[in-house]
Symmetry: C2
Subunit: 264 residues, 2 copies
């Protein structure tokens, strides 16, 4: 049941299933929220789940800023493409790749953390932040909370850093708007690529691309349900067409350098 | 109960709890596996969970290569710091940030995907791969499977690409060794930083660093249980001291360029 919606394919089925898998497979982005607050107990549970995710060498190179102040949410929403659901969500978490904590440790110890200057370490920051945040997404779902990631927080990383008082050697990686889903939202479970297109055995096989055609049809049908045109291939080509389709984020490399993450 | 182990703090407690949170909070890396195979049904469930994770603009910019061949696992283990558990694990998943699929779409359509040349898009590749992989980690745990990430797959990305036949515009981001945990493994739930050190309200507060001292004591006590010396601060400073502590990964930026991910 959950696999058929996940793949938009009546023939899709899984040979094993349990409550956790069912929860994961039924994930969708939630962009309309009821006004109910996310409690401090719920927030603590989300962060504990996030901290339980694996982290490279136990570096724990991330922080999270919990924003509930309506005015701050409005300012962040304006910086992140003006998406109204950010203001509507009772809780907006900004996930921060944080090499600043290690840098401050080094400063206090009179030591050097030169490794933090390399792209590899920036990547660890982004990856470990993502592992943590995804645990929070699943934890939220288990508590009946919906969520949606906001990559547009990277449209204006320096302004976001000022708004949140982020110290050097940190960068806001993405936001996560959280709240109780409004059942009136007209949204569904967006089908993904056929598993055969992304799962390879022993070696990568580019012939797996042959499964994209069927997916294009499924996604076009799904989009049409919501009054949207276009299939997957067309949208990918449009989204990646060039810097003009990146809302300013093509400058990320220079911005990271100014934020103290030279990523060399 | 699960919070006390997670934080190594008898006073740690959560106000909400459920089966999913308990599963997440009890996460530990597993590095000793029983010989039982991970079945194809289990693999399909892990990948379906991974595909259910959020992905920026539905780009789905990742692939995963499932390796079971003992000789290939041995060669990958040798490329990834010689870690024996890779050979022992019945299943080794290599998660691939994959802009190659979009590039091939563009080639077939006679289109350009110039956005794929920017660091922002490389970051999306790594982040979305991480979101997906973390869902697989939680799904694995729900099926009684243990796992451990292998960042050392980035020690030699070009050799890994050759071994796996990875096409241009892709990079192996990390490995994930999976199998049934050997109950004889001497391992525990590694305590994390106090939540007060990573969770900020409204604005980032560097004074949260004051909670590191208590954590250093907890982690030193935890390490001592396993015959290891050192606290958290000392290990972070050592791990990030400089390029010589990075196992070759300080060259990631140049390597990505050669793999067709110029990340400019």
């Amino acid at each position: 049941m959950s696999a058929t919606a996940r793949y938009g394919d009546p023939a899709a089925a899984l040979g094993v299933v349990n409550d956790v898998l069912t929860l994961q497979l039924s994930h969708r982005s939630v962009r309309r929220f009821l006004p109910h607050a996310v409690t401090d107990d719920e927030l603590a549970a989300l962060v504990a789940a996030a901290q339980s995710a694996p982290t490279s060498s136990n570096l724990q190179p991330w922080s999270v800023v919990a924003v509930r102040d309506p005015r701050r949410k409005a300012r962040l929403a304006a910086l992140a493409g003006g998406q109204g659901f950010i203001e509507q969500a009772p809780l907006f978490l900004i996930w921060v790749a944080d090499l600043g904590r290690a840098q401050r440790l080094a400063d206090r110890a009179g030591a050097q953390v030169t490794a933090a200057e390399y792209l590899e370490t920036t990547v660890i920051g982004f990856v470990d932040t993502a592992l943590a945040a995804q645990n929070a997404v699943v934890a939220a779902a288990s508590l009946g909370l919906g969520s949606v990631f906001v990559g547009a927080i990277r449209n204006h990383p320096e302004e976001v850093a000022t708004e949140l008082g982020l110290p050097p050697h940190t960068v806001a990686t993405f936001g996560l708007a959280i709240g109780r889903p409004d059942p009136a939202e007209h949204a569904g479970i967006k089908p993904r690529l056929p598993q055969e297109a992304v799962l390879h055995r022993e070696r990568y096989d580019a012939a797996a691309d042959e499964h994209i055609a069927a997916y294009d049809e499924r996604l076009a049908a799904y989009n049409a349900r919501f009054g949207l045109a276009g299939n997957w291939s067309g949208r990918v080509l449009q989204r990646l067409s060039g810097p003009e389709s990146m809302a300013g984020r093509h400058r990320l490399r220079q911005t990271l350098e100014r934020l103290g993450l030279p990523s060399r």
